[in-house]
């Protein structure tokens, strides 16, 4: 579906991504994991054709978009949810309808799709609310509805549950699982290893802008690479720490 060939991104003399080769296959859920600052967000921006790589090329369905109109056509088949989704001016309805209005769909079709997308994310009845007055979790769900409403062929999710409470995180994960069940291709970037293991068919580990390993979650757990093992163990340990703290909090209450 999307292929990155020898992609490097350099910004202000700093190497953000270096010689990345990744293929996102149709229908799979690809997890991109790595510590904060590893280059995950930039990688997703490159996949969405917003960020132009300094080197290498991005193929969408086997073709490298050559000009702005080809890029736009490809981008219109991709849905994205950023880590801190920004709400556009207006209501929740306006936000979810934005992508549909710019595609010049009929009013009835927009109405139908907005209602369905809001129902999918559990926000029925939120249509008239000012989008910027919502809580962080609600905004994240609106952003997901906004991306799903355009019926994308591929969904790119950048740390979709970061900064969310566990309950909202589970709701979002559930929505991602449903999208996956419907056969949608999903790329999810996260620093939450257990989440990647739960959701992804295949995982790519990225560190300091480089791909250090990739494969199925099971395969990665048994990796020979010290760097990979160290990262995975640290990730699991952090998760266990969090569960331990959560348990302690629960008991003390």
């Amino acid at each position: 579906m999307i292929q990155l060939e020898d992609v490097s991104v350099e910004r202000n003399g700093r190497q953000i991504l270096k010689d990345i080769n990744i293929e996102v296959r149709t229908g799979e859920t690809l997890g991109i994991i790595g510590p904060t600052g590893a280059g995950k967000t930039t990688l997703l921006r490159v996949m969405d054709l917003i960020e132009v790589p300094s080197k290498g090329r991005v193929l969408f369905r086997g073709e490298a978009p050559k000009n702005e109109s080809e890029k736009l056509a490809a981008r219109r088949r991709i849905g994205v949810v950023f880590q801190r989704p920004l709400m556009l001016r207006g209501t929740v309805y306006d936000n979810v309808a934005y992508g549909l209005r710019i595609r010049r769909l009929s009013k009835d079709e927009i109405d139908k799709r907005v209602k369905a997308a809001l129902s999918d994310v559990g926000l029925e009845g939120y249509e008239r609310r000012p989008a910027r007055m919502l809580s962080g979790g609600e905004m994240q769900r609106v952003a997901l509805a906004r991306a799903l409403a355009i019926s994308p062929e591929i969904l790119l999710l950048d740390e979709p549950t970061a900064n969310l409470d566990p309950r909202t995180s589970y709701v979002i994960e559930d929505l991602i699982s449903s999208a996956k069940m419907r056969g949608m291709t999903v790329v999810i970037s996260t620093h939450d290893l257990p989440q990647a293991v739960r959701l992804a068919d295949r995982i790519v580990i990225i560190m300091d802008g480089r791909v250090v390993s990739s494969g199925s979650p099971d395969l990665l757990m048994g990796s020979d690479s010290d760097e990979v093992r160290e990262f995975l163990h640290a990730g699991m340990l952090r998760h266990l720490d969090r569960r331990f703290i959560h348990e302690l909090t629960r008991i003390s209450h």
Partner: protein, 228 residues
């Protein structure tokens, strides 16, 4: 002191009894300033967007120059437009000197830097992430520009209103280009200058009070719009 007090009382009476001359001068000032803002905004809001969305060599120098021209003396603009539309000037044949149309051109030129600069600044304050959000949702270049402008509509409207305030309260262009002709090009500021020099304090104070009230309303609305 008594004279000033009497002047104030008589000025308020002139306003309350809707003195025809006060009303006429106020309406003319409004119409000329409004026309100037309309022309200046039709040119400068799209031009400001063009400068904001396009990166070209010398762009930051140009923005600096525009910002420096915010406080250009009104008489300098008056002189420039005078040279342009006077009988010997390139637009002399149009017969614009000492007409309200000439004043509109002069005021449009005067408020151009303010509207242009503040439009660029309003657009710059819209977060890049918001622009990326529009692009990622499939907006083309024109749709992205429209979304960013809609996002900055409060500050852009505030810029237009500030331009209106500057046009309404300036005296240099109105005097040099309009010539302060009674019943034709006399506006609030030139009328105040003339009436004061003639010792007609009550009329000057009445017009001054109207000007201050308008400035107050403009400032209040600008403050509200910037948060909109």
């Amino acid at each position: 002191m008594d004279e000033i007090t009497r002047g104030f009382i008589r000025a308020i009476e002139l306003i309350l009894e809707l003195n025809p001359e006060v009303i006429e001068v106020t309406l003319r000032s409004f119409l000329i300033a409004l026309s100037s803002v309309t022309i200046a905004s039709l040119i400068n809001v799209p031009l400001g967007s063009l400068i904001y969305f396009h990166h070209f060599p010398g762009r930051s120098g140009l923005i600096n120059l525009i910002q420096t021209l915010y406080s250009i003396p009104t008489v300098t603009v008056g002189l420039f437009v005078f040279l342009l539309i006077s009988r010997e000037g390139p637009l002399g044949s149009c017969g614009l000197l000492y007409t309200p149309y000439g004043m509109i051109i002069g005021q449009s030129v005067l408020i151009t830097p303010v509207i242009l600069g503040l439009t660029i600044s309003a657009l710059s304050n819209v977060s890049d992430d918001l622009r990326d959000t529009a692009i990622s949702l499939g907006a083309d270049r024109f749709q992205t520009i429209r979304t960013v402008i809609a996002e900055a509509r409060g500050p852009v409207l505030a810029a237009l209103l500030l331009g209106f305030g500057r046009a309404l309260s300036e005296v240099g262009v109105a005097m040099m280009i309009g010539g302060n002709i009674r019943g034709y090009t006399r506006v609030l500021t030139t009328a105040i200058a003339l009436e004061t020099s003639m010792g007609n304090l009550e009329m000057s104070i009445a017009l001054g009070l109207i000007l201050i009230s308008i400035a107050l309303v403009v400032n209040t609305v600008v403050g509200r719009l910037q948060e909109w």
